[in-house]
Symmetry: C2
Subunit: 439 residues, 2 copies
């Protein structure tokens, strides 16, 4: 309940006709009326991930009709244990425009870092409780009980996490499908593989599926948005849009309804590796099966053969996905499939995702999306380099490239790419009736 | 005429029912019958850019139904005069998979480098004669005559160039349109701006338009493919698909017919800066107006605000363009709009374009396109790292990233991204009925 006891979650408020402070902020950012945002949240078509304990949050909405948001995965692990370095990455990610951080920490005592995030970080914080379960109890996976898993969800909710990925859609039936369908890559979702392994070793049903109502009660209490994980997302083009993926999606559609019945906000996670011509269809199927719940995609990566460049394969897929309805892009770094991302990888991953998100926002006609591009065009025509840098997604990099290789005769109006052959310079002169000197 | 005097161009041969040696090679590369290639060349839907003097050429076909090809722009300029460095870039581009090199040299004596390219380089060589005209005569642009321009086209044809960009579609009528339509960026095509400036200063009609038939005779004699330049390609999102661009495209459609009447092969150049939702429409319009002549696009860049990252904005646009019918992608480097590309920029630009081309080829169902992705998936499931590197577009970079940050406990089977949380490892164990150890 809010301070006045009027509502539990943003969805509950929206359904009761209450415009929350968070809705007002989101409405301003999206250049929409607060009433429109309220309606979208009530219908489940937009979510505002805002745990009531995450008081320093600057809220954002996630929905296909809103600006496309970008998530950054970080967190300490066995091979990168330094919390200070990880916090630096977080703050640099926020500065670069990430709207969410998922803390995927998988080593040591994870709670202090998680609490630090929800105490200091203004963007949405997400976690994957099943990773943390193994770490938290420091016991073999097979010895954990269903209750153990649920307790970790509660712990994360209490710590102020705004959304949690729950791999609820993979059931014992799916296990059979994975075994018989003979995918090339089986399951590539880390959380999904843990749930599969647990079910495999214990013989029991998926605890997140079996105890979904109990989990929903926790999520409603703290207003934690459920991000329905796609354990069966394709890990290669050959597995895309197969029966394993689509059957899980159908399950996620059912679970969406159940969450909404508890006034719990829902996002649905999606692929994965998908050939370019299947991306639009994947978005349409999700929209229809999950009744417009915001779609949160990892990539999609449009080819398997570019390790070292998967921020680019992800930007291609992400732009097309968002144009066709994905609301939330999980960044992919150049280190994907190869190593833990370093600081520079994180930067490259965020910028590639921001480009994809922005290109899609323009394509979708999001209010105001094209304004900055218009300013850049004006600055380019005027050959005003400072104004160009001011409009750039990464001004420092743009400036460094131009400055490192200025034209020899240092015309301040051109750059070394074309020198005096610069088309903009020639056209400005020609249209002004001046002689155009090239030599 | 060929050695036996049977045909002039590949198109002439194709129309006479002759399967040329070049067609046989292209057919093998494309996993198609030589007869199918012959028919496509006869119809103008595919071109084989092969100047009869470029004898070291390993021919490639360009057409929407063939593998998408990638062009790399290089050449010396006032700010990078070293021919040796430029030749190194050329050979590294070929090694990275570029199917064409455009020599845009704009400084000094350009002929030796051009001749070196057609003497030693096995990929298609293209040029833009209007750039070279200014350099070749070393006279002010306004003092050049129409004949001077035509003579440079002849010179390039004699030097063995496989395709030439000719900005024929911009006429005095277009000049009026540019003046009255008030585009944000006017003309950003270097060649287009030179032609505009020349027309502006001399009051004469576009020499490449006025003397098109004479130029076609030259092109027929040597079998030079005409690449119809898009002087009015949009230089910012706001100018995309506007009346200036589309009117020029209509002109290019007319010129395509005239070239085909001379048995001269034609490609049509296209945008430019285009919002993502307009890319597919641009491809459809070109196909229809230019009767299926192969479309050669620069980008398209799907946002204006990412200087320093335009290889990514171009990869997004290029992948979608090629999926919808573009046949040939001109690479874009991270230095676009800022500076001359260095060796590393060239590499980044090529790989981004190769990713876009490959993603589109899979989407288009090009025979065999997905095979390498399939092998990568098998290698990933087997956690066979050497096999993964062997399938990678850039094996050295992939290996360097993994090796620089190996997992601490050096499991050879995983990487530091997930360590023992590796989903592939967990699944392999679970499916084999083994215990899954995470801690």
């Amino acid at each position: 309940m809010d301070g006045n006891g009027n509502y539990t979650t943003q969805m509950d408020a929206a359904r009761k006709g209450i415009v929350t402070p968070q809705m007002k902020i989101v409405a301003e950012k999206e250049k929409m009326s607060a009433e429109r945002i309220r309606k979208l949240v009530a219908e489940g078509k937009a979510v505002i991930c805002a745990n009531r304990r995450h008081t320093c949050l600057d809220p954002e909405g996630v929905g296909s009709m809103l600006r496309t948001k970008v998530n950054v995965n970080l967190g300490v692990s066995r091979d990168c244990k330094d919390y200070e370095i990880e916090m630096e990455k977080v703050m640099s990610a926020v500065k670069l425009g990430a709207e969410a951080i998922m803390d995927l920490s998988s080593h040591g005592n994870t709670q202090p870092f998680r609490r630090k995030l929800t105490a200091q970080c203004p963007v949405m914080i997400g976690t994957v409780p099943v990773y943390d379960s193994v770490i938290y109890y420091q016991r073999d996976l097979s010895t954990l009980s269903a209750k153990d898993f649920v307790d970790v969800v509660r712990l994360h909710a209490e710590d102020g996490v705004d959304f949690v990925t729950l791999h609820c859609g993979i059931t014992r039936k799916t296990m059979e499908q994975i075994r018989t369908h003979k995918r090339k890559m089986n399951i590539v979702s880390r959380g999904g593989s843990l749930v599969f392994a647990w079910m495999s070793m214990t013989g029991a049903e998926n605890p997140f599926y079996e105890h979904f109502d109990e989990i929903l009660d926790i999520c409603e209490e703290y207003d934690v948005t459920v991000s329905l994980g796609d354990a069966c997302r394709p890990g290669c083009l050959a597995d895309a849009t197969d029966v394993c993926q689509i059957e899980e999606l159908v399950r996620l559609g059912e679970l969406t309804k159940r969450a909404w019945a508890h006034n719990v906000q829902v996002m649905v996670e999606g692929p994965g590796h998908v050939p370019l011509h299947q991306v639009a269809a994947n978005m349409e199927i999700q929209k229809s099966v999950c009744m417009g719940a915001p779609f949160y995609v990892l990539g999609p990566l449009v080819t398997d053969i570019a390790p070292g460049y998967d921020h680019i394969t992800g930007a291609i897929g992400g732009a097309v996905a968002a144009m066709h309805g994905a609301a939330f892009l999980c960044y992919v770094t150049p280190a994907e499939h190869l190593a833990l991302p370093g600081v520079e990888d994180v930067k490259q991953g965020i910028i590639a995702s921001k480009i994809a998100a922005h290109a899609a926002d323009i394509a979708k006609g999001i209010p105001g999306a094209e304004e900055r591009d218009g300013r850049m065009a004006e600055a380019r025509r005027a050959l005003d380099w400072e104004a160009q840098f001011a409009c750039a997604l990464d001004p420092e990099t743009a400036r460094a490239i131009r400055d490192s290789r200025k034209p020899e005769d240092d015309h301040s109006d051109t750059c070394s790419m074309c020198g005096k052959f610069c088309a903009v310079r020639s056209m400005n002169k020609a249209l002004a009736g001046e002689a155009v000197d090239i030599l």
